[in-house]
Symmetry: C2
Subunit: 447 residues, 2 copies
Amino acid sequence: MKKFFNPHSVAIFGSMKEGKTGSDLVRNITEGGFKGKVYPISHTGDQIFGLNIKKDFKDLDIDLAVIAIPSQFIPSILEKLGNKGVRSVIIISAGFSEVGNIKGEERIREIAKKYNMRIIGPNCAGIMNTEYNLFASIEVRALKGETAFITQSGALGGVVLMMAEEMGFGFSKFISYGNRCDVDEADLIKYLQDDYQTKVIAVYIEGLKDGRKFLAQAKKTLPKKPIIVIKSGKSKAGMRATSSHTGSLAGEDRIYDAAFKQSGILRVDNVREMFDLSRGLIYYQKIKGNKIAIVTNSGGPAVMTTDKLEELGLAVPEPSPSLKDRLKTSLPSNISLRNPFDLLAYGSAENFAFVCEEIASEYDAIIAIFVPTAYMDSTKIAKALGKVKDKIKKPIFASFMAGRLVKKGIEELNSYGIPNYGTGERCAKVIQKIVLYTSNLEGTKDA
Amino acid sequence: MKKFFNPHSVAIFGSMKEGKTGSDLVRNITEGGFKGKVYPISHTGDQIFGLNIKKDFKDLDIDLAVIAIPSQFIPSILEKLGNKGVRSVIIISAGFSEVGNIKGEERIREIAKKYNMRIIGPNCAGIMNTEYNLFASIEVRALKGETAFITQSGALGGVVLMMAEEMGFGFSKFISYGNRCDVDEADLIKYLQDDYQTKVIAVYIEGLKDGRKFLAQAKKTLPKKPIIVIKSGKSKAGMRATSSHTGSLAGEDRIYDAAFKQSGILRVDNVREMFDLSRGLIYYQKIKGNKIAIVTNSGGPAVMTTDKLEELGLAVPEPSPSLKDRLKTSLPSNISLRNPFDLLAYGSAENFAFVCEEIASEYDAIIAIFVPTAYMDSTKIAKALGKVKDKIKKPIFASFMAGRLVKKGIEELNSYGIPNYGTGERCAKVIQKIVLYTSNLEGTKDA
């Protein structure tokens, strides 16, 4: 598997005309700053992006082959690569099981077996290793980050990459594995388990071919890093759609759901929740209990957050009488000290810091909600929270709400390692999953 | 009520020092381009934003008074205004029932009654009428639009305005009514029912003082325009928080929920859903059935959308055999025609337009999902959808996914009156509510 992600040389097979997949691949690899050898291969010869297009690959030393030629020509190329000793191949080309060509896919699987070759694909969008500047993919290049993303749907992978780019969210690895004729999710998770650049593994699947293998691997990996799953194909029509599209059988969703829960995999409903949870887990891998405090300068959003926390089975308990007394001594009298701690519209940076520090011992995590009025400065509040975070050693999540008015404040929060979410409800969802992950881990230790 | 929104003259009572509420109000009103008279009133005299600050208001002709002075001085000002015949007063100042000062609030209510005066507030963020350039509020000025937003929480109102600004989403009216000592949601809905600038009424509430009045008014208004409600304070801790913050009693959430459903009010869970549904309703007030088609160039997102549609009780049925035959004749053979109609990655503008036009007779609404690969043009697809929309007379919703790659395409969609959503699941939620609103209306007619 290592040669997929850290090859010394990559050969690209496909049309090198502008706008064609082969050309896009070479472009992405060279523009992406790959340091190894790049060999564009096509019978047309000529040059592309300053590289000679090779007509023949007999004498080339190839670690990784990326194939984007019509499906009927692929078996003979694979035989030649196998004979040469190439062991890592990505097949971008479609035209296999997803359009009913089961035999064609069976054939390439057999060739792979014969040569002890590993194949990612066919019908996939390729892979990226940002640490190594390897962008062997037709999708936009990911930024560097600590989340690895594995996706069965190439198109969804593209969407995720574009959304990530807008947010400035990065990835350690990106893998679109398409029809998984050979390498599957479990193989990839196994590889990522020991990849030090990866802190969180996120997976989009529509269905599994080998559920047992997947779950067994997940159980091994979960004590080391969290696994987030988006699983679509829940409904009947949805299942019909998945089986028509990557040639996989979706299976009963509730069976998947139970298996995920039992093994400790964190299931989310959609891509945004995947991003939210990944960001949360990069900052805080553990939250040791379910008692959550909300410190706010704004009633409405705090109420909505409280609702969401309780709906998710977390607690928003009042502080102890002695803590209440301590708080009273240093705060204006009209402030509500029942949790949510509502500092009212003009709650100052000092108020926020004071309350967070005092209450930390009684809660497992804190959500700080801040809504500025039109002419208020958000960076002061952010700095105060950042400083108190280092002292209290409890996770602080922020929801600074109000677009451009809090933009600088959010940058400041990031610099202190405090994740910010557009709403407190989104914080709540993230916290719930991290609490779950933590308690699952504790369970494993006890057993 | 009309003088609140279309006054010829506005008097502002409060401190006119920079950064104080009185000054912020005068600034928002003058910078907002209000065409009537503006009278800043404070015992300090002097000038502000080129206006003379009046020490006395005896001789002024005032349609609307906006008050931001400490609560203890308010009753005497109200008496004077009442004597002068001022009938519309907004009280921004806090310090009433929300901090336990029930008597103070009772007193201003009595004064209002005595003079037949209407009061919005106290403890509110003010009102806006974008049509009339009136921004009698401490919040950022809203853009012009067709949604009226009524909010019990001023802070949440601020959040909504800032989110709206980022999205380019506009409002017809904005009203933060705080403790509603006099004017309440029902009064405001009644006014907005006949406001021709308002197509959709959206309300954020934590609890109602007079549920019967609200529901009776909603029943009258709903046949004319849709009402969207965000109701927070669902959980126990959430209720505790609401009652501590605007001095209202939250009450049992499930009773509210049942009442909303029965009357046909469209409840949403959060602010984003409110925006999504408002935008949908502005374009399409009716969807006459629950049969939804998905036309896509991308399998994964289509599956997730299908799941969501079915989860919400909508149908994603296959086309009739004869329709399938018609489609087959003009499309590549590997395209899935079972709904989702999956045109595959290189599905063209012509493919999109052709399928939408052919299937329109068998479906009640269409979701078009488009995910470009890195070097694809989204405006062509948008134009094709825009043109076909005029022909088929069925609602088309779009989900063009991929950040900057589809930005121009989304602008193009907007110019054709097609709402775009970041995910197909969000389209699904919007469609479900519009179907519900439509069937409620039909129910009303039958009865």
